[in-house]
Amino acid sequence: MTRFLLRKALGMLGVLLALSLVIYAVFYIAPGDPAQLACGEKCSPAQVLQVRERLGLDAPVYLQYAHFLQGLVAGRDFSAGTGLLHCPAPCLGVSYRSGEQVTDMITARLPVTASLALGAMVLWLVLGVGTGLLSALRRGRLSERLLTGLTLAGSSVPVFVIGLVLLIVLCAQLQWLPFPSYVPLTEDPQQWFWGLLLPWVSLALIESAKYARLTRASMLEILADDHIRTFRAYGVSERQLVTRHALRGALTPVIALTAIDLGTMFGSAVLTETLFGLPGLGKLLVTSVGLIDLPTVVGLVLVTGFFVVLANVIADVLYAVTDRRVVLT
């Protein structure tokens, strides 16, 4: 197990390194002078030169990249006007636009995206696993066809389309729900909940059908398994059979898929946050890309890549923990 984790961690590091290299290269060939962008429209050439020197943009690109890596591991210093600006260890650089530290910008917005993703996850698991189990235990052609249809429909709606339709119907026309907004959980839990309910529902509606189908299929597979048949022959009640023996195995693939989906949630978060105007990481990405704010974009891509890779490792580990037949090598 330790060896497995070590190997995975090393692989993760390699992938992230490659990722940062690629995104750095892409933005280096981007048109537009970052120093000019950072300085503003009305800067004189001398001022631009000064800014370039201050941000370390006069160094060749491989050195800039090396500095970036150094900042990530050990932190680095920027000269800011009068004194030194210290950027501590996981340093992703300083925004060309606002002069803020990228690490701070990301940690400030992380709670929004985390609230969005985790809340949606709870909802889609309850909805998806619930209906999946129900239809597995009350088998019938109708429920299977209904589920298949719902899965197809669910995977066919882009999240911004379903969000828009819900926005029009529930908020604008019927006025059942308030317009989405973000209030920190620590400030007012009730407003936090109501403000995020619609984004959660939009995301959950798309995801839950997939989970229902998966739960149903794996439950049916387990119930047909030899060991369950043996239990049944021994006279274990049907109820106990399901809750004590089948459920664990049936939920293994569901748990793994959840980990992976959470990791890739960021993609949908960009769309959801833009649609509902939530100030999370996705919104930050769209704004920074518009401003060609290199450090922020590189930081965001790295952080999201980190979550995707991490989710994959967690999924592998969870597989092994819940399903003893799997051996990690």
Binding site: L19, S155, P158, L214, S218, V270, L275, V286
Partner: protein, 341 residues
């Protein structure tokens, strides 16, 4: 019969002609597949005939009609349902007064063209790299394998947004969209092709060809590619609807096609501003987008069941559901590994 690139919804296998025709017949026998196919044919016709349809209406997708807007209300179209009239069949765009019907039918062109083009790019790269990895040297296999790994770890939408913003705006946007979506999404195909090739290579008829002195290239082309057609077509059908969504998403975010060019996603990018005042304008592209993606998904599902009964049954018992995933991510990775095991 030469293997064909799966560019359209038409399913043809290159394996014995009778097999291809049989699959085709069985597909037609499915009501859902038939309906989905019909919708796709209809949408393609609309896309092809877009200029004609606009001309029939007597409008074009780019001219402004400020006289049809209520400037006091901030540019909302006058009249019912977003300004529906005999001249403007589906109303006009709020803010600009451009004709919605023309923009919708021209938008179909972009949505379909980009999705099909991107799928073509993904499949071509995926097949070539997958074959190369399976048939080439160990080093090459490792190199391609690692690249695939990185591509799968790439948060593809995030990366696509960054790429779209970086390229100068005089580069044709639809082509750029096709390339970006295509270049970011080949990893799944390459994995499937590699795994499939590795298991095919063990078969006797390939060994016979090798013993007969056929070159590697000839084996790849004549012996392996035809048998790869079925899984590749199946996979392409899964990719197609995802690509429609990707294009719409990028255009929705404002980094895809830009006005005056229209796509359904681009039309929705103004949605957050207008959904209260003019819901009609928001609902039309949404409905079209939904219908298109659903049709492609249903057809893809049917094609998979017909072409690859084993995969379909594996899906039914549910180890990895890769149709529903928004991204071609780790779920497919797992399937590919199973296949190679």
């Amino acid at each position: 019969m030469a293997p064909q690139k799966p560019t359209t919804g038409e399913a043809r296998t290159a394996s014995p002609a009778a097999g291809g025709r049989q699959v085709w017949r069985r597909l037609l026998a499915r009501r859902a597949a038939r309906t989905a196919g019909l919708v796709i044919v209809l949408l393609t016709l609309i896309a092809v005939a877009a200029p004609l349809l606009s001309a029939l209406e007597g409008q074009d997708p780019t001219s402004y009609h400020n006289d049809l807007l209520d400037s006091a209300a901030g540019g909302v179209p006058t009249g019912t349902l977003g300004g529906v009239s005999a001249e403007h069949w589906l109303g006009v765009e709020p803010g600009t007064g451009r004709d919605v019907f023309s923009r919708l039918v021209h938008g179909a062109q972009i949505s379909l063209l980009v999705a099909v083009g991107a799928t073509f790019v993904q499949v071509t790269i995926g097949v070539l790299l997958g074959l190369a990895a399976a048939l080439g040297s160990r080093l090459l296999d490792q190199l391609i394998g690692n690249t695939t790994e990185v591509m799968l770890a790439l948060p593809s939408l995030v990366f696509a947004i960054s790429l779209m913003a970086v390229v100068p705006s005089d580069f044709p946007r639809p082509l750029l969209l096709t390339l970006v979506i295509g270049l970011l999404g080949w990893a799944g195909t390459s994995r499937v092709v590699r795994a499939q090739t590795l298991s095919l290579r063990q078969l006797d008829y390939v060994a016979a060809a090798r013993l007969g002195g056929a070159s590697r290239w000839r084996i790849a082309r004549r012996e392996l590619l035809p048998s790869l057609a079925a899984p590749v077509i199946t996979y392409a059908m899964v990719l197609l609807p995802t690509n429609v969504i990707s294009e719409a998403g990028l255009s929705f975010l404002g980094v895809g096609v830009k006005p005056p060019t229209s796509s359904w996603g681009q039309m929705l990018s103004g949605a957050t501003t207008w959904f209260r005042a003019d819901p009609m304008y928001v609902l039309l592209p949404s409905a079209l987008l939904f219908a298109t993606v659903l049709a492609f998904t249903v057809l893809g599902d049917a094609v998979r069941t017909e072409l690859d009964p084993r995969a379909a049954s594996r899906l039914r018992v549910g180890t990895a559901d890769d149709t529903a995933a928004g991204t071609t991510g780790p779920a497919t990775e797992r399937t590919a590994e199973e296949a190679s095991a």
